[in-house]
Amino acid sequence: MLSKPAEMHIPDGFLSVGVSIALWIVALIFIAISLRKVNQSLGERQVPLMGVLAACIFAGQMLNFTVAGGTSGHLMGAALATILIGPWASILVMTCVVGAQALLFQDGGLLALGGNIVNMGIIGSFVSYGIFTVIKRLAGERRVGVFLSGFTAGWTSIVVAALAVALQLAASGTTTANIAVPTMGVVHMLIGIGEGLITVGALSVVYAARRDLVTGDAPAKGGNRGLVIGGVLIAVLLAVASPLASAFPDGLEWVAEQQGFLDKAQGPAFELFPDYVVPGIQNEALATIAAGLLGMLIVLGAASALAWSRRKRATPSV
């Protein structure tokens, strides 16, 4: 497939419905804002430029380099896009990329798409924007400052997005924060190095050929001081909240329990289906399985029959 950093794309089934919907709402709000912001700055050039750049990031995720032992580094692209075209345009571009990966390549789920847009698009873009701007300002406009801030932005965008994934999974009751946060964090601290290095490599080319794209002042790209602070704040918040959540998982577990109240109320699995018992089978678990299989066979049979009858009808006309 086109994209590889699949450990960041949450498939369906891993987020609870409550968490999915909350993340969808956040995603929709920010997509709406970024559509308006980008339209203000680009006007009628918005559609062609954003479309092609989304295709570019999508295709750019194919670019890889061998690390060791068959593993390879890849580009996610949120940091690069944010640095070159600004945070709002980057959100739009990443939304297109992540959306296409879910809708067409099943890289990430449909219900979980809101969460994936939040993690890779929104958090990724804001955090890289905040970090890049702050460090660039600290280091000055020198070449090395641009590269240093580019590396940090790329690295942080990956790590913070991974922490967000871990917290969302923990809030869904899919995993426990005290294990998920450290594992996701450490793994992505390594993966983030690749992202940072690729971002620097890309910036060095753009810096040589189109310096205006890299050093262009923030307002032209639709950013402002508030966004810088917001981006850094997200990074800090997640960096602080994650270890806290993993040290005291009760808070997230409480969320998960609120989410999972439906199945909590149900009791252990095999006492769930007293009415599924098939006559003649004593063991309830076995009876459940048998009833399920029977239903499956009936529906499958009906569907196969329908498909077969259609094929019959189609054949004479050929």
Binding site: M1, L2, A6, H9, I10, P11, D12, G13, F14, V17, I31, L35, R45, Q46, V47, P48, L49, G51, V52, A54, A55, A59, G60, M62, F65, V67, L75, L80, A100, L103, L104, F105, Q106, D107, G173, T175, T176, I179, L197, G201, V205, V206, A209, L262, D263, P268, A269, F273, P274, I289, G292, L293, G295, M296, V299, A303, S304, A307, R310, A314
Partner: protein, 271 residues
């Protein structure tokens, strides 16, 4: 990438044209039903094995009806399953009673409720994936765009999304050419076990430089595309054909399918 590395990239398109009832169904109905199915799967309680079996029957029937081939779809549907590792901690932290104790170290107890939850998550994810695959394989991209429009996705976004798809193949081809050029110049050996050239940092910078030039080319291409669009009368307004009418039979399919899904949801609440 499993497919041949250096061929033209049109094989990327997941759409597989067939003459099936699922393909004939309006994209708006397909998208709503796929999302409804995934939502119902997500709403299922943990450990509802019989209901999972019924849902599996439902999705298998859709796969059979779509004539995409049960084997290929199921093979594709296990691709995302490695993510299930994310739920692995449940096996240990799920609580009592203990299912088995693994003879590793001092013995790792595997929790029975944790294992049930782990299996439920894996099954739910697998079921959702099957429906998403059928949706993508049985719906052409223009049809998907139409469905997105019908679901009130902003026009500007739909247009951007469509343009991305159109140029994805162009840029993916360009990326492939770059990868081929790199392979030809930086000492990648066909012999297994031979080291690739350069240090890791050097390799990362080369990949980054490729990303940078891809980006510059894309920006320039975007400007050219805009000029071409402007010269053909584009003024920022997205003009599209009116939505085709959904035939009555397809409405029946939609409501019947909703009824079945609601029934399954009802079953999960009752038991």
């Amino acid at each position: 990438m499993a497919a041949p590395q250096f061929m033209h990239l049109h094989y990327l398109d997941p759409y597989q044209p067939r003459d099936s009832v699922v393909h004939a169904l309006d994209a708006r109905i397909k998208l709503s039903l796929a999302v409804a199915f995934i939502l119902v799967v997500a709403l299922m309680p943990m450990g509802a094995w019989a209901l999972y079996a019924l849902l599996l029957a439902l999705s298998l029937s859709v796969i059979v009806l779509s004539e995409l081939g049960v084997g290929p779809v199921l093979k594709r549907s296990v691709l995302a399953l490695p993510f299930v590792l994310a739920a692995a901690p449940l096996l240990i932290t799920g609580g009592l009673p203990t299912l088995v104790t693994l003879p590793i170290g001092g013995g790792i107890p595997i929790s029975a409720p944790g294992a049930a939850r782990f299996a439920s998550i894996a099954i739910k994810s697998w079921l959702s994936l099957q429906m998403a695959i059928v949706l993508a394989s049985a719906t052409s991209f223009p049809q998907l765009l139409l469905a997105m429009r019908a679901l009130r996705v902003p026009k500007l976004f739909v247009a951007t999304f469509g343009l991305m798809w159109r140029y994805l193949f162009v840029l993916a081809d360009e990326t492939q050419r770059m990868l081929r050029a790199r392979a030809a110049r930086s000492g990648v050996s066909g012999e297994p076990g031979r080291k690739v050239g350069g240090s890791v940092i050097w390799r990362a910078r080369v990949a980054g430089a490729m990303a940078g030039s891809l980006f510059l080319r894309a920006i320039e291409r975007g400007d050219r595309i805009y000029l071409a669009m402007a010269s053909r009368g584009y003024d920022g307004e997205i003009r599209s054909f009116p939505m085709p009418v959904i035939p009555r039979a397809q409405w029946v399919v939609l409501f019947a399918a909703f009824f079945v899904l609601a029934l399954l949801l009802g079953l999960s609440l009752v038991f």
